[in-house]
């Protein structure tokens, strides 16, 4: 790997993000991004090179803002003005901002503007302040100089490296590191040897930042030297780790031995930084080296190294991971399965399939989950091809995968397997058909149902049929309607469940007919089906008439109750009914509504039809202790409407007053009182 300059690195990063695919994309991408982020921060930190813009009105605003700073305005006003100058200021604002650097209260506000305005006058002002402020204010000024990377400030910053105040000396080291360059680097290296304990960490970090800048500028050799100096110095452990990473990456391919050395380190921190660095360093030889380390490591490290290989997404390592997934300690096998999934290619299918049939349940589930999530049509093709050859456990797994991955091409094989002698394969096949099938497969399932031998088979087929009918609707009628005429009452029951999924007039007629079936169990199921008929209004509004008939004259009380409930739900949901019509329909049924369950449904229906007549009925319900609170709440909502159809203010007030007097719920009473106030 050659590093040239930052702009080339940016370009490389972009290409790898958008144009490349395959084994090395991810590692190249990581490395490019490493450099890109460093250089991007530099771009943001430096005064923006962009062409100045000065939209209309900005000049006038700027003059006003500068005048505020130069006035006796209170600090609060000056503070916010500084923020606005960060956006609208230019060099003219600097003379007004600079004096604020001496203010304990306003220093930080002034720096917001001075850091943001892209004019060298800001650098001059900050540099000038170095000799005027002390302590934390000085730290702040140096921090801003560091952010702006003012190369002219190197000398005065060097002078502060040995400041008695540790915070000041540290800030100087930090700013020098951000500015970078040979002079700053040389001074920081020298300081590394003599820095006090409270400063040495910042000096080391300054060196690391200088090295990063060297690297971004294409000066890899200088970067290597600097990184090596830090990692061999007596500095805090974390700085050594950072320098070690940098030393490996800056060396490029030549950094591999150093990487391997630390992958073998017994020091936990060194091993950890080697793991993260191994994800960043590009090159197939790096992948191979990591794979070799994995094979020679102890199990706990093997699992971590497998995950590194997964993140490197390098196809050349597939044999190693495949082997790890197939044998060895379970933790490593699990990690290898995860790694195979992350590799995400069709080549990993066979080994994952083997894993999915493993005796160990956890391993099998992990492999199956990976197979479900593997992207790509090629994977689907591979699974279908294997399905036609498979047997036993693998057949079952493949069928399950076909359903979960929605592989339509697997349907012919699934239909064939649905007649397998092995009950578990039949169940898996029917399950897949249920997920994938269309009307043609619905017909296949009906034929299978007629031939089925066991209750479990019939149960699985019914589930699959309901699934297909729910998706394909009326298209399935030709397949399903004959079932409703079957001589076998069990099949007629199954037909009812599937017709409910189909919906529409023809299906409804068949269910209506079934409510008069010769078999009482079929009658009961038909009534239940009608009562919960899908609410795809207006397509299914035809259910109203049979429900009303059931409510009024059902053969059994249970039929009457179910009819009444279904009808009230229909009234509430029907979009074609006007509010007046809904209220009239509820009113017509009032003599039949005797139980609190149905009363609640009636209240819901009336709530959905806000009219004066409905409000009167709600007031009547409020007198019924079993549903008084529900009715009260509905009254508050209904009577609170200023545009309530046909209702006088008196009617609304009276209804709300009823709630205020009768409701036992504080919240409802309070709402009623608020609504009353609004009417007045």
């Amino acid at each position: 790997m050659m590093l040239t300059n930052s702009s080339q690195n940016f370009a490389a990063g972009q290409i790898s993000r958008t144009g490349q695919t395959g084994q090395t994309r991810q590692t190249k991408d990581l490395f490019s991004r490493l450099l890109s982020l460093t250089a991007l921060l530099a771009c943001l930190a430096a005064p923006s090179p962009l062409r100045a813009v000065d939209p209309a009105g900005t000049a006038e605003l700027r003059l006003k803002l500068i005048a505020v700073l130069q006035s006796d305005a209170p600090p609060a006003e000056k503070a916010i003005t500084c923020k606005r100058l960060a956006v609208y200021g230019n060099r003219d604002a600097v003379p007004a901002l600079a004096p604020l650097l001496l203010s304990k209260e306003l220093n930080s506000w002034a720096r917001i503007a001075l850091e943001a305005i892209p004019d060298p006058a800001c650098d001059d002002a900050l540099r000038d302040a170095l000799g005027k402020v002390q302590g934390r204010l000085l730290v702040g000024v140096m921090n801003s100089i560091g952010v702006r990377r003012d190369a002219k400030a190197v000398e005065p910053l060097i002078a502060r490296l040995n400041d008695a105040d540790g915070e000041v000396a540290s800030a100087a080291a930090s700013a020098l590191g951000r500015i970078g360059g040979e002079q700053a680097a040389a001074v920081l290296v020298k300081a590394l040897l003599s820095a006090r304990k409270d400063v040495v960490s910042e000096v080391a970090e300054g060196c690391v930042r200088c090295a990063e800048k060297f690297l971004a500028d294409g000066k890899a050799a200088e970067a290597v030297t600097l990184y090596d100096t830090v990692r061999k110095a007596s500095v805090p452990k974390q700085r050594i780790l950072e320098a070690t990473r940098g030393a490996i990456l800056a060396r490029g391919a030549a950094g591999l031995p150093l990487l391997v050395e630390h992958l073998r380190s017994t020091d936990k921190g060194m091993f950890s930084i080697a793991l993260s660095t191994a994800r960043e360093l590009p090159g197939q030889e790096v992948t191979q080296a990591v794979a070799a380390e994995m094979e020679r490591s102890a199990v706990d490290r093997q699992t971590m190294l497998v995950m590194v290989l997964a993140d490197r997404a390098d196809a050349s390592v597939l044999p190693t991971i495949r082997k790890a997934a197939q044998s060895g300690p379970k933790p490593m096998r699990l990690a290898a399965i995860t790694a195979l999934e992350r590799m995400g290619t069709v080549e990993v299918v066979p080994v994952l399939l083997d894993g999915a049939t493993d005796e160990d349940r956890e391993l099998a589930q992990a492999a199956k989950a990976a197979l479900v999530r593997l992207p790509g049509k090629q994977v689907n093709g591979e699974l279908v091809a294997r399905l036609s050859q498979a047997a036993g456990k693998q057949s079952r797994v493949l069928l399950e995968l076909a359903g979960l991955r929605r592989i339509g091409e697997a349907l012919p094989a699934a239909v064939k397997c649905a007649e397998d002698s092995d009950a578990t394969i039949r169940a898996a096949a029917v399950g897949a058909i249920g997920l994938l099938g269309e009307e043609k497969q619905a017909a296949d399932l009906v034929r299978l149902l007629e031939k089925s031998q066991t209750p479990r088979d019939r149960e699985e087929i019914e589930k699959a049929l309901v699934g297909i009918c729910g998706r394909r609707g009326a298209n399935c009628l030709p397949a399903v309607l004959p079932l409703a005429q079957s001589a076998n009452s069990e099949f007629r029951l199954i037909a009812l469940h599937t017709l409910s999924g189909v919906g529409g007039a023809a299906a409804l007629n068949a269910v209506k007919s079934a409510s008069n079936d010769q078999d009482e169990a079929v009658q009961d199921e038909a009534v239940r089906t009608l009562a919960s008929w899908p609410g795809n209004w207006p397509d299914d509004s035809g259910v109203a008439e049979p429900l009303l008939a059931l409510a009024k004259s059902g053969k059994k009380q249970s039929h009457q109750v179910l009819g009444l409930r279904g009808y009230l739900e229909y009234v509430q949901a029907a979009k074609k009914l006007q509010s007046d019509e809904k209220v009239a329909k509820v009113k017509e049924l009032l003599p039949l509504i005797t139980r609190s369950e149905e009363k609640r449904l009636a209240i819901s229906a009336l709530s959905a039809a806000p009219t004066a007549a409905g409000l009167e009925m709600l007031v009547a319900f409020a007198a019924d202790s079993s549903v008084a609170e529900e009715a009260s709440l509905a009254i508050v909502t209904t009577a609170g409407k200023d545009d309530l159809k046909g209702a006088t203010k008196e009617l609304r007030r009276g209804a709300l007053q009823t709630v205020v007097e009768k409701s036992k719920t504080d919240r409802t009473r309070r709402k009623a009182e608020e609504a009353l106030k609004r009417i007045r």
């Binding site: 370009a11 990063g13 993000r17 958008t18 991408d29 991004r33 490493l34 982020l37 921060l41 771009c43 943001l44 930190a45 962009l50 813009v53 600090p75 609060a76 503070a79 923020k83 956006v87 306003l106 220093n107 930080s108 506000w109 720096r111 917001i112 001075l114 943001a116 305005i117 204010l137 702040g140 921090n143 915070e167 800030a171 690391v208 780790l241 950072e242 990473r245 921190g269 793991l275 993260s276 994800r279 960043e280 706990d300 699992t303 971590m304 995950m307 993140d311 933790p331 990690a335 995860t338 999934e341 956890e362 199956k368 479900v372 999530r373 979960l404 929605r406 994938l436 729910g470 998706r471």
Partner: protein, 437 residues
Amino acid sequence: MTNANQVRRGDPHSRAAVSNRRQFLTTAMKAGALLAAPLIVPGAVLGKDGGVAPSERIRLGGIGIGNRGSYVLSCFLHEADVQFVAIADVKETRRQSVKKLADAKYGNTDCAMYRDQRDLLARDDIDAVLIATGPNWHATASMLAANAGKDVYCEKPCTKNISQSLALAETFRRTGRIFQAGTQRRSLPNFVFSIELARQGKLGKLHTLYAHPAGLHTVSSGWLPGEDEPPKEQVDWDLYLGPAAWRPFNKKLLDGFNFEKGGGMTGGGCLEWGSHCVDLCQWANDADNTAPVEYEPKDGKLFARYPNGVQLILRNDGWLPLGSCPVRFEGETGWVETGDNGDIVASSESLLAGKGQKIGGYPADFHVRDFLECVKSRGRTRANADAACWAHIACHAANISLFLNRKVTFDVKKCEFIGDEQANRLRSEALREPWRI
């Protein structure tokens, strides 16, 4: 991070919530839940089998633990391989309250208390920290912690501006530390399932992504009239302000939740939910290392466009009733929408096969577990610093567009707005002394 949501949801470790999680853990790997199962290294890989010797536990510290922090901390405390050992908070009441919780959990008095997080970070026996301060501190504290050699789980929004977002990613690369943004929806089955539909092409070629921002108004915390400052031991105002520009004490600014959220002139805006919902859209669009290139406020919405042409729309209304933080992904052959109640709605029932068990209430348990596994394996978390960086850049760029109330165009290679100096100046903001990142 909304307190109201927290209250509405109740205690996530109530019997029901724990039961939900247990049910999920036991059923997630069943066939029906295969697609929804989080892609994390199984615990057994890393030796997590219930009993964990004290020496093998991850030693955790907390920084700024208030309402939201207490909830996330409770998720950590439920994990057998975690030992919580110290709390740093500028407020004495919170220090005491967290210590009481930890000491009660372990039956000792070992939890140390610090006013200044730097004292906690100086301890070399702490492996990781949970940062749940207000947004003002999130990025700075995360980078301080990484530089001190700690792994970090940090609540969202994680950064205050574009510059901080880039610095966050760079710092975690340089230090090799593990970072997990508190965007726990990245680990929740309904969101993961929906994102997989988009990423695997099951919706056809993606063309539009929708994110709920929970508001699109940018705000600035400002300077309120000074009040009597409490003693440092009770509330350390200087540390509370931290990297935010100085202003006198005023208890109205002490809520932490909204103080300097996003900083600059462009705080708030879409950051509240955007740091979740935009983040999920980024993932769905396979855009964890980029951001939209155009942003335009129009008709109460924010329209953005990715380099691959996919449109991102931030809107506050027009959502199906699926709870808070909804997202919707639309492709040429289908769409899917999901939210915090755990339900998933799609253009076709067939898309929902294998969606697994519903888990509502956006628990953080799975996300915390993912973090802990990565602390051990040194792997990449679901909401790692790079992903968080770009999701936040997208939010900040949207906020800048909202603040300027006009279209802005963003160069993702250079991370600058094209020909737009005003927008560019809003990419970063000076930190108050002595803080730097």
